[in-house]
Every structure is written in C-alpha cells, then in structure tokens.
Amino acid sequence: MGLFDRMQRLFATDDTSDDRPAGDPEDLLDISAAALQMETIGYEPIGEAALCFQIDDAETTIDELRSVVEATTDEAVTAREDTYGFQWLVFRAETAETLASVLQFAASALFDSGHREALLAAVIGFVDEQRAYWIYSFERGRFYPFVPTGDEERDVTEEFKLRGSLLGELPVEDDESAWHPLWPDRPGNHPWE
C-alpha cells in the first residue's frame, strides 16, 4: 500500500503540491518508508510515536480509542494531558512500520468520530547522537523535522539536513515558517512526555 500511495503521489505531485487539502491519516503510513531512509543516515526509531489533539471532555474518547487500539494490536498505549491543555496518545512498538499503522488507525478513528478539527499533530521519534522528530501537521497535511536541543532551542542545520534526506519519502512542508516546534514540558523529554 505504501508503495502504491507513493507512486500515486509521484505522478500527482504537480496537482497536489500547491493547494493540498487538510491532513489525511493515510499520509501517516509514509512513516515506514521514511524510517528506512532515516536509518540510512544513522537515525534509529526510538519505538515511540504520539498523536496530539484537543477535545473538550476527552476522557471517554480517549478510553474508547485506547481500548480499540489495544484490542487490535499488542502495543502499549498511554494517555496524558500537557500544560497547554492538549491530550496526547503515546504508542510504543518495536518497528516504525507498526507505529505508522497504529498512528494511521487512531487518527482515522478520530476523523470518523467527528474529531477531525481537534487533531493537531502526529509525532514520531528517532535518535542518533541527538533526538530528531518528524511532526505531521493535520492542519497543513505535511511533515516537517524537529530537532530540539535544550530548552526552546532547535538545531535548524540538522533539520534542514533531514528535510533534504527525506524529500522523496514524505510530503514535506516546504514553507519553513510553518515548522512550529512542539516543545517538551521539560528540556530533554520527548514532546509528548
């Protein structure tokens, strides 16, 4: 499926590049191919990925979602709320491929239950000498790299390198002014921690 999607995108680039509609959970499946490419430049997946959204009275939605995900996969799911008042569902799995499909599954479930607008971002983590993340913005339907260093600082040079390396694998946000960070609550943590 990943290959077919990518073939389609390859032939459709001209139509979709300028005016892309809002996010599509199917895009998250591209993460598997992206992870392979990340490994060729030295980044290993850390085995965690997360969805970030904001729903009033989210508890029931999260519980439902968690039970569905846990029923279909063996993967661990945790939920938390951050200091901005956003909810996070964090998934743990061995391979990036599994994480990609769990993210896609959970995002589709939120789309189908009418929470399309509430979805903010999907994030998957990698590590080399430092941690690097790919953030998918549901508002813009594109991925961008995020390499936080310390408190509210980012390694832009590394981010540009990652963008260059994965241009062929992901629909990458080409407007850098939309590469908004997801600062962790404490420096050194993952954005979802």
Binding site: D82, G85, L120, A178
Partner: protein
C-alpha cells in the same frame, strides 16, 4: 561620536508601553472590582515567580541553553572583544558564556548591568568574521545597556496573570462567586491576554531595533552587523520557535491563520531580517 535619537522609534515604544500600562490598570481594576481580594493570591504568586525568574535569569537562561561561563584562558579573543566593546558602551564587563551548538545564535541576560552575561554559540564563532562578531556582541551589549531583561519581565508580568486566570480561573472562582464575577474576570483576562500578547511582541520588536541602533553606536560599523544578520539567518531565520499548540490556540481567536500576512507580523518577537538590514543601512548612510 554623537548620534541622533530615533524619535520615531522612541515614540512608538512609549505609545506601546503606555497602551500596555492602560490595559493592565484596567485589568487590575476589573479583577479587584469583581473578585474583591481573590486575585491578590494570583498576583502574589505570579509576582513571586516572575521575581525569582528575573533574579536568576542569567543561570536559568544559560542552563536552558546548555551554556556555561568561560574563562579568559579558554576564549581569550572572545573575552578581549567583550572587554573592548563593554568599555566603548560604558558598561561593566559582563561574564562571557559559550553554548555548544551548531546553530549560530547569541543572547544577553542577567538581572542588571552588574550581573549580565553575554552568551554565544560555537556555531556563531565559526560562522562570522571578526567585524561581524563585534557587531553581534555589541547588539547584545546594547540589550544589557537598555535593561531589556527587566523591561520585558515587567511588561510580561500581568499578561502572565491574565493567562493564569483564563486557564485556571474556573477552578478557583467557580463555587464561591455566585454573582458571575468569575465569568467577567475570565472575559477581561482573555482580552488582556490577547491584547498584551500583541503589545509585548511589538515592544520586543522595537527593543531589537533599539539594540541594533545601540550596536551601531558602539562599533560605528552598522554594515558589519547587517552582514552578520545575513550570514546567520539565510533561510534559518524563517524557522519559528513558537509552539504549534500556542499557535493553534491563538488561531482559534482569529479567522485568518496567524502565520500569514499582517497578523503574522503582529506575532513576531523579532523584526524581519530584511527590515533590520534596511535600517542598519540607513544608519551606515547617516555615518558616511
């Protein structure tokens, strides 16, 4: 050498600060009016936190950047530059710190002129030539001279209180105030938060221009700072540092996405590199 005061810039700064003061006074009056003594707790709490943050701004900022103070023996050239420029700026010599990061960047912090630190990244030292480095260091010294840490702490204080009331007001006031006072308080806080957010960012942009002007005054070489800005920024300047979540919450109050157009401009903490370079070139022209 004597420089003309930029009355336009000074005027805009005063107007912005004045609007902020009026907004804050109105905000406090409304809070006291509808909640009597309850907001005193929030004011004291945020006041205490702000003071601690302000008092320890140097160590907090350095730690968050992973930077540490360096001795003269480790970075003799950098220390010499700072000593010379501080003399020219008529400032006590600040501490010097270096952060190990490829991203070229610099900042100044500290609660007053006697406890100031200038920090640069290793990326900055690698990227810039000597004159450009002087320009950037002078810009940071100008921030110290203008007491910008204090200015921005004071300007942000009541904005933080307003944000706290918006975020947590319902928890505290819900049961006790049957007359709906808490609703008025949250409404007033919301308006104060949004308006002060924009005013603080405008003020921050004016302080940047003022520091660029100060740097030109110290080095007499505005072009070098302009060229440093060009070397540092390139496309990197476009990568934002405001959080996606903050952005999306602000977006909820505006119809047009804040990252685009006029509204995007209101949200910036720094003026665009093009505008700064343009003004520095004007300064260079005045000098010639």
């Amino acid at each position: 050498m004597n420089w003309q005061t930029d009355w336009g810039l000074r005027g805009r700064m005063l107007v912005t600060a004045g609007l902020l003061a009026v907004l804050y006074i109105g905000f406090v009056v409304v809070l006291v009016e509808v909640l009597n003594t309850a907001p005193v707790v929030a004011l004291l709490l945020v006041g205490g936190l702000s003071f601690v943050q302000y008092f320890y701004s140097d160590s907090l900022a350095l730690r968050s950047m992973g930077a540490s103070r360096v001795e003269e023996a480790e970075y003799p050239d950098l220390h010499q530059r700072v000593t010379r420029l501080a003399q020219q700026a008529d400032l006590p010599k600040p501490d010097v710190a270096v952060a190990d990061s490829h991203t070229p960047n610099a900042f100044a912090t500290g609660r007053n002129q006697e406890n100031a630190v200038v920090c640069v990244t290793t990326g900055l030292l690698e990227t810039l030539d000597e004159e450009e480095l002087d320009g950037v260091l002078a810009h940071e010294l100008a921030h110290i001279k203008n007491r910008d840490v204090m200015v921005m702490t004071i300007a942000s204080f009541l904005s933080t209180v307003a944000f706290m009331v918006v975020r947590y007001g319902a928890f505290f006031g819900g049961g006790r105030n049957r007359n709906g006072g808490i609703v008025v308080a949250i409404g007033a806080s919301l308006i104060t938060w949004i308006v002060s957010f924009l005013l603080i960012r405008a003020l921050s942009r004016y302080r940047e221009y003022a520091a660029d002007r100060g740097a030109a005054q110290i080095t007499g070489n505005p072009s070098a700072l302009a060229s440093a800005l060009l070397s540092i920024s390139g496309k990197m300047d476009r990568v934002p540092s405001d959080d996606l979540r903050e952005q999306s919450q602000m977006n909820a109050f505006f119809i047009i996405p804040v990252s685009s157009g006029v509204i995007g401009k209101l949200f910036r903490t720094h003026p665009t590199t093009e505008n700064r370079i343009e003004r520095l070139q004007e300064l260079q022209a005045e000098l010639a």
